[in-house]
């Protein structure tokens, strides 16, 4: 039986899908500030670097942008206006969005719906962050816990890893291979926090954090920025934008966790339901995907989520990595950017950075790490709590 909440999610997703079908929206500009370890660089400089690069990529001037959605988790109130005023005080709408790790994805979704609804013609989604005090709402809910680490994601995923490896009788190497692949991809990405390939031996020999997860199987903390410009079809015509560089947003889905069951963990169900809703909106199946950028803050997540997304059968996530099917040049490149493990996870920018990577790949501009024949991509993020955001993008030629 379909869970009533899941049925509601699918209905709501279908509604958003109708909006995007009737009023197409496109990514027309992307920009990044490299992800890096915490530094003295002000967040304003990080964010403006990404926004200026996105404006230049789109061939736009700042006054042409009508609304801005700013994804950030740790900087503080009113990040957007304080940062964006240095581009000129144009009076545009500025909204700050926070959804933990998925803050950037949430900002991108709001920008897409803003344009699809006709409220704006051209919108900006920008993610910017610096390491903060990481205070979490779950630690302030007034409820007791039986463990001080009950809200620590590394522990949750280490427990999931132990269960997964035991169930499928896999060695820890199967999980560690995810880190080897993604660090290898990150080494080819000039925007990545880590630019060094790692061997399986190095990944396994790095200090243990919790359970079977070693340091190199856990994403780093850091800072950075990512920006994308979204435009309507009408705006594309008006601007005379080179359409082959436009990447269309075919689906935008947001869901949150339901209670798990004996047979399916809450995390698996969250990814499965949100992804299926996105496929339905986009009118595609998992086999149509050439690219996936997903939330592998911990190596085990990539194995579980690729299965939940239908990229492979249950228990085959490790084989997908080992056989090279999820490598650049494989059947579907997973985390070609380097993912959260290699590219980094500065929180606010991460979801927007995924969109920038997929756009770059579909355009054929991911020099040095280009996945051949990249046409359709899925960006999927999880935020603490847990919430999920899924977006499907495809090249203009494939959607015209």
């Amino acid at each position: 039986m379909t869970h009533p909440y899941q049925a509601g999610e699918v209905q709501r997703a279908a509604s958003a899908g109708r909006l995007l079908r009737e009023n197409p929206v496109y990514v027309i500009g992307i920009g990044m500030h490299r992800y890096q370890f915490a530094s003295d660089t002000p967040y304003v400089q990080l964010g403006l670097t990404a926004v200026r690069e996105a404006l230049a990529d789109a061939g736009l001037a700042w006054p042409q942008v009508q609304s801005a959605y700013v994804g950030t988790s740790a900087i503080g109130m009113a990040t957007g206006r304080v940062m964006l005023r240095h581009l000129g005080s144009t009076g545009l709408a500025v909204t700050q969005v926070e959804s933990a790790s998925a803050s950037g994805s949430a900002a991108f979704r709001q920008a897409c719906l803003d344009v699809a609804s006709g409220e704006s013609d051209i919108a900006l989604a920008v993610g910017v962050d610096k390491p903060g005090d990481s205070r979490r709402a779950a630690d302030k809910d007034g409820l007791g816990r039986l463990s001080p680490s009950a809200n620590v994601p590394a522990v949750k995923f280490a427990l999931m890893a132990r269960e997964y490896l035991e169930r499928y009788r896999l060695p820890v190497e199967a999980m560690a291979q995810v880190a080897v692949k993604n660090h290898g991809n990150a080494a080819l990405n000039p925007y990545a926090q880590f630019r060094k390939p790692r061997t399986l031996e190095q990944v396994l020999a790095s200090p243990k954090v919790v359970g079977d997860l070693t340091v190199q199987q856990c994403c780093p903390r850091g800072e950075g920025a990512a920006a994308v410009i979204i435009a309507s079809g009408t705006a594309l015509e008006r601007l005379g934008y080179a359409k082959p560089r436009a990447v269309r947003v075919l689906a935008s889905v947001a869901t949150s966790e339901t209670l798990g069951s004996e047979t399916e963990s809450a995390a698996h169900a969250l990814v499965r339901v949100s992804t299926q809703a996105a496929y339905a909106q986009a009118g595609i199946g998992a086999s149509d995907l050439d690219l996936v950028e997903l939330h592998e803050a911990f190596s085990i997540e990539e194995l579980i989520y690729t299965e939940a997304m239908g990229l492979c059968a249950p228990g085959e996530g490790a084989a997908l990595v080992a056989e090279g099917a999820s490598a650049i040049g494989g059947r579907c490149a997973v985390n070609a950017s380097g993912g959260l493990l290699g590219m980094g996870h500065p929180i606010g920018p991460t979801g927007v950075g995924q969109i920038a990577e997929i756009t770059r790949q579909i355009r054929g501009e991911a020099h040095g790490r280009q996945h051949p024949g990249a046409r359709v991509g899925l960006a999927h993020m999880i935020g603490l709590g847990s919430v999920a955001f899924a977006h499907v993008l495809a090249g203009w030629r494939d959607t015209a």
Partner: protein, 125 residues
Amino acid sequence: MYIQEDDGALRLLFLQCGQCGRLSFPASSYGCRHCGAPSEAGSVVRRPGLARLRRAVTVHQNLSPGLAAPYVVGELELAPGIVEEAVLDVPDEQGLTPGMTVRAVARDAGEGRYVCRFVPAEEAA
């Protein structure tokens, strides 16, 4: 969350929903996690501090204040469908097997306070 009986045993406190009858943990929850009924419509029930261990891992780094690594945490089924992470008062993971029963015990936290930890049920007997 829990209460110590006169015999020293710990009992866990749950919220039993007045609408659907199902349990939520801890008892101070703001509503039923299953049907959403407000907690005022439910009642607090005491259950023996027994749980089924699903799996356990060792925390090697200091990830949260209040407990220095290394220590062992487990994913415990406290009641049907209610799974919580808890600290196991064991020296290491040896001897812990998925499916085994663990029991809540009170451990001295200083200044007259105690905390809830879990140990294999046979050990606690």
